[in-house]
């Protein structure tokens, strides 16, 4: 065990820090769940790509820097510290990217990954359907193999970023006789294809952060399939899936929230009337640190050739509840001002906590509800009997 950064790590951190200091927009961008904000974020991704910061762990020929997971963590730490814009293409770079790296053909990697890194093509996820939420194996949307192309019919929902994105990925039933996890195929669909209708759904904050996608005889070439036909479930749940578990929420995000929470507490200390709040602030700091240390341990294991075990399913519960707890604490600190939008005359110092509070409610639901995660932990990690 060696818990010191190398000289190379330190130099890399400096390089990231100085680039971000020179390039992060001075004014915060508008939310990417508006047309204008989406475009601003797409431009920011292009700026990042010019500096080759799109996805530092990817090979150079695919738009990355060929760096390891520790360097990725360092990059993320500096990124959040610099309060740089949230990544509009996270469904692409953090979710689909690692899966493509694992299952994609060389042609597919060359076709999709560089444009993903550059923000030229922004991806929406297409997991859920009206009848397939927590029970994802109940997918009914169909893709009919016609030799050189598929004809897709059906509906996806809660598709994050789909309101403004260019592409979606998801699982479709290619074997009409199949049921449950079998007969599903992982396919990419351009959202401007004929027969695709995107109907944005306003989220809790009123912005269309997700959408329904309707497929009416949509034709896509078979080259848009990732992995083998019928192997969609394995592609989605693959070892790359475990890496997604690692990458989806990097610890720096929560460390920075915890640090801002400590500052918020200090700024408001004289007005806080609940002595228990300080304990919650300390817990936020400790849990963000614990998540960080845990992630460094997992990253080290992967670098050393190990694999991520089923214990990684504890991650999602931990960070989502941490995020919710931190924002609840911030609301308590802000007291009567907590309900106010930042532009209000009485909203002194509320910052973006309300926005974060609303978003933190979704963390326990997306990427598999925490109840489903607890079942997975109990059954696959602890070996408890299935129902």
């Amino acid at each position: 065990m060696d818990l010191a950064y190398t000289q190379e790590h330190k130099a890399f951190r400096e390089e990231v820090r100085s680039w971000l200091a020179a390039n992060v927009p001075k004014e915060p961008l508008k939310t990417f769940d508006t047309a204008e904000g989406f475009q601003q974020h797409r431009e920011w991704e292009a700026t990042m790509n010019k500096g080759r910061w799109g996805m530092v762990t990817w090979p150079e020929e695919l738009g990355g820097r060929g760096l390891d997971l520790i360097q990725w963590l360092i990059f993320e730490e500096e990124y959040y510290r610099a309060q740089a814009p949230t990544r509009v293409n996270q469904n692409g770079i953090f979710l689909l990217g690692p899966t493509l790296m694992e299952y994609g053909t060389e042609e597919q990697k060359a076709r999709y990954l560089p444009k993903m890194a550059s923000g030229e093509e922004i991806w929406a996820q297409g997991w859920s359907e009206p009848g397939a939420g927590s029970d994802m194996a109940a997918i009914r949307s169909k893709a009919e193999n016609k030799g050189d192309h598929y004809i897709i019919n059906g509906q996806k929902t809660w598709s994050t970023r789909a309101a403004f994105a260019d592409w979606t990925f998801g699982m479709f039933r290619t074997d009409p006789e199949s049921s449950r996890h079998k007969g599903l195929t992982f396919i990419f669909v351009p959202l401007n294809a004929e027969g695709v209708t995107v109907r944005p759904i306003p989220q809790l904050n009123g912005h269309p952060g997700f959408a329904e996608i309707f497929f009416d005889n949509v034709k896509v070439p078979v080259e848009n399939r990732l992995g083998d036909e019928g192997a969609g479930w394995n592609v989605a749940m693959s070892t790359a899936g475990f890496e997604r578990g690692l990458m989806l929420r990097s610890p720096a995000r929560f460390q920075e929230t915890a640090r801002r929470l400590v500052k918020l507490y200090q700024e408001n200390e004289k007005e806080i009337d609940d002595p228990l709040i300080k304990g919650q602030v300390l817990k936020a700091y400790m849990d963000a640190e614990a998540y960080t240390l845990n992630t460094y341990m997992t990253a080290s294991r992967l670098i050393n050739g190990g694999s991520i075990g089923p214990e990684t399913s504890t991650n999602k519960i931990f960070w989502s509840e941490l995020d919710q707890n931190m924002h609840e604490t911030a609301m308590s600190i802000l007291g009567a001002r907590a309900e106010l939008e930042p532009h209000c005359s009485e909203a002194r110092g509320v910052g973006s906590w309300l926005d974060g509070f609303l978003f933190s409610q979704s963390g326990l639901i997306y990427a598999g509800t925490n109840e489903i995660q607890r079942n997975i932990i109990a059954e696959r990690m602890l070996g408890m009997p299935r129902a």
Binding site: M1, D2, L3, A4, Y5, T6, H9, R13, I70, E76, E77, E78, Y80, R81, P251, A252, Q255, E256, A258, R259, V262, Q266, K278, G279, V281, L282, Y285, M286, A288, E289, A290, Y291, T292, L293, N294, Y296, M297, A299, S300, R301, N304, G306, E311, T314, I317, F318, E371, Q373, R374, N375, I377, A378, E379, M381, L382, G383, M384, P385, R386, A387
Partner: protein, 348 residues
């Protein structure tokens, strides 16, 4: 940067785990409750033969020449096995303390602890009581900014009875005698904190092991026990209790291991890292006990079911080597000192 244990460290851990699970059976633990000392000299000799008592003793002095990072995995196993013997107190706390004191009157004990012929106990002001003083030869007493070495034969000890039948705890009545002083000044002051750090970390590691052992027993029990025609472990209400404990101990592991690394490398924030470790691991172990008894139902409230061996150890250890309040204040001081020096990029 490599936050991993080596193959060798893990193999050694595995061999100790196998040894403890074979030797420290619940039958043995229960039979020791019925003896005068509650301790087994046979088992102690075996632990010494494995080299465990001298893990932190340099190789040139006959030890294994390992450090706290190696030992943390062993301490976790001691918790998992609910080991009654004072291995941790000797190998992880007393041995480094004796080495640092390096006094002619105490040096001979090092070799004897290493060989299993002697034991030492620690009287630290953060603790109300001294554990295992009845089987120790020497008590190292922190008193008036000095460290005194008191032969157990000369000490006035009043036995106390606690919740954990395996724990042997004593009130020490000692008035400082100058001739017993083996360290003072800066050295004694430094060792006061370092010993507290080691003690608290040792509790954290045991809590980690205790929590995992309890969950293991619960999984076994709830897979067998049937109600409504099916194993109760198949019910989500039961599963989620166990999953919640698993989340707690998984996220305490890295914190505990890191604190061990910080002690081994004399990190300036070692006390902060230890405080976090004790808080996080205690949280896991206490939740394991709470949910553990719940999923065992009435069986969990009996003397017969073995779960209480682990629950009681967790409850008893929790209040030793610094209360949660003490450790939270250590964290508080760090967190509120300078918000520019905490958070992303400042963990290591």
């Amino acid at each position: 940067m490599n936050f991993s244990f080596s193959e060798d460290q893990l193999l050694f851990r595995d061999s100790v785990r196998d040894f403890l699970s074979n030797e420290v059976t619940t039958d043995l633990i229960r039979s020791l409750w019925e003896t005068d000392t509650g301790r087994s000299q046979t088992l102690w000799s075996q632990l010494a033969e494995l080299g465990l008592t001298g893990m932190l003793v340099p190789e040139e002095h006959g030890g294994l020449g390992m450090n706290e990072e190696d030992f943390i995995l062993i301490a976790e196993e001691c918790g998992r096995a609910a080991l009654p013997e004072p291995l941790i107190e000797n190998a992880m706390i007393a041995v480094p303390l004796l080495q640092a004191i390096n006094h002619e009157s105490t040096n001979p004990y090092l070799g004897k602890i290493l060989s299993g012929e002697a034991k030492a106990s620690i009287a630290h002001p953060v603790n109300l009581l001294v554990s295992d003083a009845h089987v120790s030869d020497l008590i190292l007493v922190f008193i008036d900014k000095e460290i005194h070495a008191v032969k157990t034969a000369d000490a006035e000890l009043i036995e106390q009875e606690g919740v954990d039948p395996s724990r042997k705890i004593f009130k020490l009545n000692y008035k400082a005698k100058t001739e017993n002083c083996v360290a003072n000044g800066d050295l004694a002051e430094r060792l006061l904190q370092e010993t507290l750090n080691r003690g608290a970390l040792a509790v954290a590691a045991q809590h980690l092991g205790l929590a995992q052992a309890m969950v293991g027993q619960c999984v076994e029990y709830t897979s067998e026990r049937k109600q409504f025609g099916q194993a109760i472990g198949s019910f989500q209400a039961v599963k989620h209790h166990m999953a919640n404990v698993a989340v707690k101990y998984e996220f305490a592991k890295a914190v505990v291991y890191r604190a061990a690394n910080s002690i081994a490398n004399q990190h300036p924030d070692a006390a902060v890292h230890v405080a976090h470790a004790k808080i996080a691991a205690s949280d896991a172990a206490l939740l394991a006990a709470k949910h553990g008894i719940q999923v065992h139902g009435a069986m969990g409230y009996t003397w017969e079911v073995n779960l209480h061996i682990w629950m009681k150890r967790a409850w008893a250890l929790d209040k030793t080597w610094g209360s949660l309040g003490y450790h939270k204040k250590v964290i508080e001081k760090k967190v509120f000192a300078d918000t520019n020096k905490i958070g992303a990029g400042y963990s290591f």
